[in-house]
Point group: C2
Chain length 202, copies 2
């Protein structure tokens, strides 16, 4: 499998350009979240941003490039948000670690809505996601090893895969019923706490 080079967005040089780019990304985020990636047309995005179609292509050479710019914003926010988790993690018991990780996912829920529509439709995004997921799993593994020194590297890595998979349940549940404080989220906390407890006990 070869690395796919994707034409990136062209940086705006002047103030007006920066506003345009921001408006275009915002319009794309709204429409992708509303109708999905494929159902959204480039003409539509340009219209909602108050720009001509050619102006959209001036900054984003393809629909994929716009999706990637959107994804980059999400990735930056996610990385910053997890840094906060790492600050709070040391010394906490399994139950609190589980809550920290669940809350991390809950906080990103809103931003995620737009990017979630991309991950399945845009080939380039799928590949961009992988290193991000790898990094997250690595950081989770570090937290686990810090909490239980007896854990081998492989054991921590395997456990981190499971933990990250359980964390993915959160946005799936939040999407199906976003009304109350969600008893199902509580049940997911229990699930994750059980597993982390088992891992730390090993």
């Amino acid at each position: 499998m070869s690395i796919e080079i994707l034409p990136t967005a062209k940086e705006p040089k002047r103030e007006r350009g920066k506003q345009r780019v921001a408006a275009l990304i915002d319009a794309g985020a709204e429409l992708f979240a509303e109708k999905g990636y494929e159902a959204t047309t480039m003409t539509e995005i340009a219209q909602r941003a108050g720009a001509a179609i050619g102006s959209l292509y001036q900054f984003f050479p393809s629909k994929e490039a716009l999706a990637e710019a959107l994804f980059n914003r999400y990735a930056e926010r996610a990385a910053a948000s997890f840094a906060r988790v790492e600050e709070l993690a040391p010394g906490r018991p399994a139950r609190e670690l589980a809550d920290l990780l669940i809350d991390y996912k809950l906080a990103l829920r809103t931003d995620r809505d737009a990017t979630i529509a991309l991950s399945s439709s845009v080939a380039g995004i799928v590949e961009r996601r992988k290193p991000l997921g790898d990094a997250l799993r690595g950081r989770i593994a570090s937290i686990l090893r810090a909490a239980n020194r007896a854990l081998s590297e492989d054991e921590a890595a395997a456990a981190a895969v499971i933990v990250s998979q359980v964390m993915k349940i959160v946005p799936a549940l939040a999407a199906t019923e976003n009304e109350r404080p969600l008893p199902l989220i509580g049940e997911t906390r229990k699930l994750l706490a059980l597993y982390i407890g088992e891992v730390l006990r090993t």
Copy 2:
């Protein structure tokens, strides 16, 4: 949200028509699995099946309809497969229940490859998936209540949601590394057994 009426596939009346339909669905399954739903063109599907584009549209009035026919095959096989789980479930401890459910997902892994490409791209399929998931959760809840009479209906329903979500981890892991017997699947068995054990203990 209104119910979306989707034009269904036209049933072939003669033997040659049935062969055509089978060849077309097979071609679609192959191509969707290879390149994804959006990247696959209707012309391509017709070509691989050895048919003209008009012949394809004779039986499937739209690309979505073809996707739905594909999905139906998967749904039928899944239902039949879970009936076998229900036969074996009564009287088993948590660990064995977990293994039964994980193995159920593993068995469907191959067929799932083609349909997984659709679920995110085809709006009609997303809606068709929902009742299927509801039915699965209901049947899991029944198994749980049979194993623990003290469980209320709501408790069993909530637990079934979590169990079905954990089961979704299986194909995700099988996709990332389909080489060895997968130690991560073993870790998922442990996770599910832990949770079901907790539920049955309540």
